[in-house]
Symmetry: C3
Subunit: 246 residues, 3 copies
């Protein structure tokens, strides 16, 4: 049993984040929260999302796993206007998820979750921690897109830096300690990441959101932020590219 | 002789509707009104439009048929801004229609109307009648577009329904009697229509417009609405698809 | 040495104009101004632009020629928001131009200017002169785009006219003397121009700008206007097409 009601915007935020990584996903529903863990087909990035009961206006659920076509929900939710309410209901007999916006109901066949293994969240020792506002990093990411396919994230005791090196051009975003919400780095951490993954997840972050990056040296980055007014938690892990020293 | 002046928006509304069905059309001009009847090349839909003299700020006309490239007028009118006035004038010597917006004049060669037969408006017995606001149906139409190529319109004594059945998914828009402007149905009427035609004409309806659907069982739908502040009348007939019973 | 600071909008205006004609250009920097002269690859149009020191909030420069990828600067400046300040700095050691917007720095390799010859500004005797506001001509240009590939500009003692003749249709924009800022023409001047060039440069003109066209009979047009609040001057020369008398 699963029946829930929420603001369309809350669900849009969640789906926007998930759809940067996968087209189909298993939502693990419990009486207290919805959890989703997914890895992209190339195994470069992992997403671990939780949306608590309190993110919903109404929420009634037993434990159940729902295999959902994320792209289809995304498409349907685009028709919802600001302030619209969305109802979700699991139709167990017909194996469908019903999504209701206003007078319109979309009934979607659920996807078989048998083959969907739940990835394990890695336990990483990432010594550097940077907290910043999403608005302060987007310009550097957008400028990087025309320059190269990968981007370096750097944290030192004094600053955070995003560097994108192309054949002829370079983009650098530098934020000093006092331009950051928080900076903890005893020594320099630097890793290189595929720009497309990094850019896609960053673009899905709601405006006004504070993010935390945890970084090491040639190590994955862990990106954490809240959604749904602190009632949801997103953890995103992105594997590094090893730099061919130049 | 034909010379007329109107708000650009009035003409845009008319042309938007006509261009959903045909690229070229015969406008039958008289001293009292402009009439247009057109059938699409596949003979699936028919349009019967009247725009009365009162829709114009100035209007002088003898009887004349003008073959017009609707797509070209559409393109030119897009350059007009809100509040702009448009002048239309038939240049009989050069066989052209002149359209004037601001300081810019477009002179368009008329199209030979010899081959354009005037379709007869069908006389149909459609027992069910549904009146509703265009805003209340658009979400259901848009949601249907990703689900299937056809859509069923249903009227019962209690509700109006739009249903789109895909292979795995279904979209349903249901409006109860009290959500409709009017509902007259002694028994259930239901017919299936090609979604693209239905969607295109619905998207051309100006916002805030009240529509009336007349429906039968596996019968055409007649869609009626006013344009140009009640000074224009649109009738649109759409042929049904016969349902392969599932 | 070259180091300058200005509003992003000032630089965007300049780059928008230059990028209608060339992808790469030589900016000739002096202690008083930046000058650019460029001819398009087909040698149909020429641009002569000057941006004075006063267009900048800060400006320090010795004489130097910088070969710049205009398309790349254009792309980067699109990320700047209204009111943003841009810093430009020539890095002589690395042969780069550094462009800084907010916390983001783009370092661009300079292009070799050896092959870039500086075109001579032609000395033309153009008897007719028309001054008008850019807003008054754009509708005629846009309407012409679907009609033909070339456009005639006409000046007479009484009016200015833009005429575009297609196979079946014609667009005419006519501005009487009192709709123009200025009109000086002893006799009729008329020349035919490639619409794409004319349209592109006109679309790059900032809104609210007053333009001056200097015209002859089957002669180039000289288009002049100011940018950066009178601190910049643009001269654009466009070669005529010879009309095949019809």
């Amino acid at each position: 049993m699963f029946q829930a009601r929420t603001k369309a915007d809350t669900l849009k935020e969640l789906i926007a984040i998930v759809s940067t990584l996968v087209d189909e996903a298993k939502f693990s529903i419990s009486s207290e929260k919805i959890t989703l863990r997914a890895v992209d087909p190339a195994h470069v990035a992992m997403l671990d999302v939780q949306l608590k009961k309190d993110a919903f206006e109404e929420y009634k659920a037993d434990e159940v796993d729902l295999g959902v076509d994320v792209a289809k929900i995304d498409q349907f939710l685009r028709l919802a206007r600001a302030g619209d309410i969305v109802d979700l209901a699991h139709d167990e007999d017909k194996r469908r998820l019903n999504v209701i916006v206003g007078n319109t109901t979309k009934r979607m066949s659920l996807i078989d979750t048998t083959g969907m293994t739940e990835p394990k969240v890695p336990n990483l020792n990432l010594p550097a921690k940077v907290s910043l506002n999403i608005e302060d990093i987007m310009q550097g990411i957008r400028a990087s897109e025309s320059v190269s396919d990968h981007v370096a994230l750097v944290a030192t005791p004094e600053y955070f830096e995003l560097i994108c090196e192309g054949d002829t051009d370079q983009v650098q975003l530098k934020l000093a300690k006092d331009q950051l919400v928080e900076l903890e780095a005893k020594e320099k951490a630097r890793s290189l990441f595929p720009l497309e993954y990094f850019s896609n997840i960053m673009k899905s972050v709601p405006s006004g959101t504070k993010l935390t990056f945890s970084l090491g040296v040639d190590y994955p980055v862990k990106i954490e932020f809240s959604i749904a007014g602190e009632n949801g938690e997103v953890k995103y892990f992105l594997a590094p590219r090893i730099e061919s020293g130049d």
